[in-house]
Every structure is written in structure tokens, then in C-alpha cells.
Amino acid sequence: MAGAITVHTSEETSKRPRHITESRPVQWLLIGLALLFLGFIVLLPLVSVFVEAFKKGIGVYFDSITEPDALSALRLTLIVALIAVPVNTIFGIAAAWAISKFKFRGKNILITLIDLPFAVSPVISGLIYVLLFGAQGFFGPWLDERGIQIIFAVPGMVLATVFVTVPFVARELIPLMQAQGVQEEEAAASLGAKGWQIFWKVTLPNIKWGLLYGVILCNARAMGEFGAVSVVSGHIRGETNTLPLHIEILYNEYQFSASFAVASLLVMLAVVTLIAKSIVEWKSGQQKRAHQTD
């Protein structure tokens, strides 16, 4: 698959000669259709989250996002993301380097394995760690004797999140690095550059925007993961609840406004990351253009 490759909606492609584009009314019709679809499917849920969040007034809103349990959920969410994202970033770079710069057999299977967490049901993603580390699981008794708690504690939640977000950075980098080929690295190598030097001086500058986009998406998913984390969390209030789980708890306590208020917090985190992404794209587009005029 092409992966969610960085897209540069630069002016160039939008400007096409009139004979190979649609007439203006058709264009507007198509734009209208696209916006209508996005509106019903994506925008409306977003708006409803905010409407529900502020239904009981701004006071309730701020109370619910500054309540100790919400703050501890926020802290845990950040901790989990802070571990899961860097780990998957390192993995993504290593995997992309091996896959894009070398030839070996079984590459398709390897790529498929990297993709697999995309397609595995979140329920299963959580279940597998219970099967491994649960008290009745493969390593459970061994861990129990040593007093190590993995599931129903932070390590299990980190593992589940890492599993779910494995593909994001790797899938972003692989097509990008494949497209860039190996000439620049080979040139550097023939000039006597060492491995890490080649990576830092040649490869990294080329992939940094794609890498950043992958990290941003990975982070967004890590913070928002619900299904897998729910299976391994144990739902101890104020201790093993991440933001998505805290939202569910509030919702189940009929505190609908509070639950949507916390949800809006996550939406805002997402929006911030998406804005960051736009800046990334804009900058990389700018750089590309600067590069071309050089």
C-alpha cells in the first residue's frame, strides 16, 4: 500500500489547463458533494461533541476537565503516549531503512506483518496481552511470583498502545524512502561516510517531514486508543484510566456533559496535532520549492 504519504496540496497541481479539468459549475458540484459527505460523517460528530460539552455551561465544562480523576487520566494518557510514540518511531526508522535500502526475500510478508495491527480488532489487541501476561496467561504465574504487574497496570496499557500504533511511522516512511532511492546514501558511503553519519547527514534531512507526520499520527492514535486499552486497564478510577476510558466512565455515570467535555479535550489535542501537521506540510512544501529554485 502507498500508506498515508505526506500530501502536498501545492498550487501547482490545482492549476490545470482548462481542457483537462471540469467546468466551474461541475467543480463546485463536486466540491459541494465532498463537503456534504464530510459534513455528515466527520464534522457533525465533532460539532455535537462540543455542543454536548457546553450544554451545562462553561463552569461545568472547566470543572470536569480540571477534576482530579480527569487530570490523572490526562497524565496517564501522556505517559503512555510518551513511551509508545518514541519506541515506535525508532522501530519505524529501522524497518524503513531495512526495507527500502536493501533487497531481501520475504519483504512482502514483513510489510504485511507491520501492517497487521491496522487490521487486527482492538479487542484482540488487548486480549493477546491478557493471554500472555494475565494471571492465567503464559507468563502470568512467573510474573506473579516476582510481584511484577503488567496487565491492569501501566506496562500493559503501554504494550497495547504500542501494538496498535506499530504501523504508523513505518508505513509513512517506507514509501517515502523507497521513492527516494539509495543514490545519495551510496554517494556518501563511497566518499567514506560511516553508517550513522550517512543516516544523520543524508537520510534524516530527506525524510524529516514525513517522519514528523508519521509521529504526529502515531501520537494521535496512541492518545485516542480505546478498545485495546480498555481490555488491559482494569478501570481503577484515578489510577489506570486513560482519557478515553475516563470518558466512558463519565458517560456511564450519566454525566453526559462532563464526558463530552473530556472528549472535547481529546478532540482539541487531535486538532492541535492536525494543525501541527498542516504546518509541517506547508513548511515541507516551502522547502521543496526552495530546493527546486536552487
Binding site: 536493501f102 531481501f104 526475500r105 520475504g106 491478557v130 501476561f133 494475565g134 494471571a135 492465567q136 496467561g137 503464559f138 507468563f139 502470568g140 504465574p141 512467573w142 506473579d144 511470583e145 504487574q149 496487565i151 491492569f152 482494569g234 478501570h235 481503577i236 478510577r237 484515578g238 489510577e239 466512565i249 458517560y251 456511564n252 455515570e253 450519566y254 453526559f256
Partner: protein, 369 residues
């Protein structure tokens, strides 16, 4: 060629790792079984030695793993118990709560969630925790009244004015009536709903099981949404405005009226319902490992005191203490109630007969069987 060899060796190492993992499991599981009694015995000794000292004890934490509708109850009760325990022993105790579907919570404890006490929706879920040896088999005799410090029952919540005129179970299968209940497969409360309906039909038809099965099958044809938990069903009924009647725990019905709109709903008591006994138990293995047996037992015992019963009654659970029950007699209507042990032969039997895969509940959804 060298590269290929390298790749191959990596694969071999991986395969070995997998095999080792598999062997590790085979070797560890039996070891655990033999170790367990010894370790819990040691811990128990440590725990009994502990209270001998008179100096103020360090703060202690308890984890109470409970089911969905007890959230409000335990917020109040935990506060009361902390105060009581502090006054009694000078020790600080904080109680952490985990809530979820009863089956899910039971499974979490089995899988290693370190609960000191469990307060679940039905005995079946605690029996499941007994199986891997976490709780002693005679848990139901540890506390009074079958280890159920409060009871509840199943009632109907209808929209204000009862527009469909629902008075009893047989009104639920009338043309055009929509019934909301959670899925008995995933929700403890829903199993009580189902059994109450079954018991009613059995009584109406003079013990004819085929007729009873017909009745519950018909009843579930009137269910448009089958949520996975009690709280989900309440939300569907109250917030989404779906259905004419919600089969609910009595305490949930009261709570919905008070939290979500006293002018929108009312409670209807059917002619016959079921005595729901949500049981409590100390998780023996965990309290022995952590040395929290004393406080955990005191915690559950406190549920039986006047104050504990009062808190339960305030949260719409039927108290078992007669004095508190008398005080709240207006709140809880007297009802003819079936019991799980008397009328259904206990949870094990009810579970295999009705709710296990291939049981009666599955049959009413599978045409032709």
C-alpha cells in the same frame, strides 16, 4: 549470499524464542498450583502477626472491584468506612474503585487485577473467581445472608403517565410495546431480568417450561436494542428515547428518575419479580499476599452495620437489616419475589440451562432449534 544467511539465522532465533515461550508456559502452570497454598499460608501468618503491634499503622489501600450500578453507593460507603476505620484503629484507608460489567470485572480479577474485595452482580461471577483458587469455595458462608448485604429486584421503568398501560409481565408482549433490556450474555442485571420473566411465565402456565420459553422468546422479540450493560440500556431508554419500558434494577430505576428526570418516568412494580442478591467477597489470595485481610473483612462487615445499611437504602438498595428496612418501608414496595436458589436451583444450574452457549437464551434467537 551472506545477507540471506543472516536473515535465515534471525528467523531461526525467532522460531526458538517461540518454542521457548510455549515450553515456559507448560512448565510454569503446574508449578503455580503447588506453590500457591504455601505462599498464601505464609502471608496469612504475617497478617495475623501484624495487628499485635499497637503503634499507628501505615496507611492502607483497598481495591474494590464492583459492577456498574454500584458507583454511587460505594462513593458514599467508602467515605463512611474510611472515617469509621480511622476512628476505630487510627489507620488511614483509601478505597479505590473499579466498575464495569459484572462478567468483565470477574474476568479481570481472574486475569490478575489485584482486587482486595469484589462486590459483583451475581454469585456466578464470584464462583468463577473461586475456580482458579483466588477465593475459597465457601465464600458465601463468610458473611451473613449469603454474603449479600443488600438486595434489589427487577422493576419496570415506563414513560410518565404509562401511556402503554404496562402493569405486569404479560403487558410486555402486547402488540406495539418495545422493551429495553441489556444482553443477558454480557450483563448480570439482564440475567435477573430474564429469570424474573421466566419465573413469571412458569407460574402463569403451571410450570410448563415450553410455554415459559415461548413467553421469553416473545418478550425478546419486543426488544429493539440489546446493550451490553445495564447503564447502556438506561442511556438508550432515557437519552435516546427508545422503547416503552425498561427492565431495570430497582436501584437503577430510582436513580434514573432522580438523576435524569423525575417528571419523565415512573416505576411500575410487576406482580412477581425476583430477589436479586448482589454478593460480596474477600479475594483471599490477594488480601493474604498484601496483608490486607483484616481491613478488607472489616470493610465488607461494615456493609452490614446500621450505617452501612442506611447508605445502601439511601442509594435505593433494599437493606437486609430489619430496623433500617422498616425506616425505608415507604420507599421499597413489598413484592412477591422468586429466589435464585429456591426457584432456579442456584446460579450454576441457571447459567448452564439458560445462558451458556447453546442454552435456552441462544435458542430463542436461533430459528429452527
Amino acid at each position: 549470499m551472506k545477507k540471506i544467511a543472516q536473515v535465515r539465522s534471525v528467523f531461526i532465533i525467532l522460531a526458538l524464542a517461540l518454542v521457548l515461550a510455549a515450553c515456559g508456559q507448560g512448565g510454569n502452570a503446574p508449578a503455580n498450583v503447588t506453590n500457591e497454598p504455601a505462599s498464601s499460608g505464609n502471608a496469612a501468618n504475617a497478617a495475623t502477626n501484624d495487628p499485635a503491634k499497637d503503634e499507628p499503622k501505615p496507611p492502607v489501600e483497598l481495591l474494590n472491584v464492583s459492577y456498574d450500578p454500584t458507583r454511587e453507593l460505594y462513593v458514599d460507603f467508602n467515605e463512611a468506612f474510611s472515617k469509621h476505620w480511622k476512628a476505630e484503629t487510627g489507620q488511614e484507608v483509601t478505597i479505590k474503585q473499579s466498575h464495569g460489567g459484572s462478567g468483565k470485572q470477574g474476568r479481570a480479577v481472574i486475569d490478575g487485577l489485584k482486587a482486595d474485595v469484589v462486590t459483583l452482580a451475581l454469585g456466578y461471577d464470584i464462583d468463577a473467581i473461586v475456580e482458579p483458587g483466588l477465593i475459597q469455595a465457601d465464600w458465601q458462608k463468610k458473611f451473613e445472608h449469603n454474603s449479600s448485604p443488600y438486595t434489589s429486584t427487577i422493576v419496570f421503568l415506563v414513560r410518565k403517565g404509562n401511556p402503554k398501560g404496562i402493569k405486569d409481565w404479560n403487558d410486555l408482549v402486547k402488540e406495539g410495546v418495545e422493551v429495553i433490556t441489556p444482553n443477558p450474555k454480557t450483563s448480570g442485571g439482564a440475567r435477573w431480568n430474564y429469570l424474573a420473566a421466566w419465573g413469571y411465565a412458569l407460574k402463569q402456565n403451571g410450570g410448563d417450561e415450553a410455554k415459559a420459553q415461548e413467553f421469553v422468546a416473545e418478550l425478546f422479540k419486543h426488544v429493539p436494542v440489546l446493550d451490553s450493560g445495564a447503564r447502556g440500556s438506561t442511556t438508550t431508554f432515557v437519552e435516546r428515547g427508545i422503547g416503552d419500558v425498561l427492565l431495570a434494577w430497582e436501584n437503577e430505576a430510582f436513580l434514573s428518575i432522580n438523576e435524569l428526570g423525575p417528571d419523565k418516568f415512573e416505576i411500575v412494580y410487576p406482580s412477581l419479580s425476583i430477589l436479586a442478591e448482589p454478593p460480596v467477597a474477600v479475594v483471599d489470595k490477594v488480601v493474604d499476599d498484601r496483608g490486607t485481610r483484616e481491613v478488607a473483612e472489616a470493610y465488607l462487615k461494615y456493609l452490614y452495620t446500621e450505617e452501612g445499611q442506611e447508605i445502601a437504602a439511601k442509594n435505593y438498595y433494599r437493606p437486609i437489616s430489619e430496623t433500617v428496612a422498616a425506616k425505608y418501608a415507604d420507599q421499597f414496595k413489598a413484592l412477591e419475589l422468586l429466589t435464585i436458589d429456591g426457584d432456579f436451583g442456584g446460579w450454576k444450574e441457571a447459567q448452564t440451562k439458560h445462558f451458556a452457549d447453546g442454552g435456552i437464551f441462544d435458542k430463542i434467537y436461533t430459528p429452527g432449534s
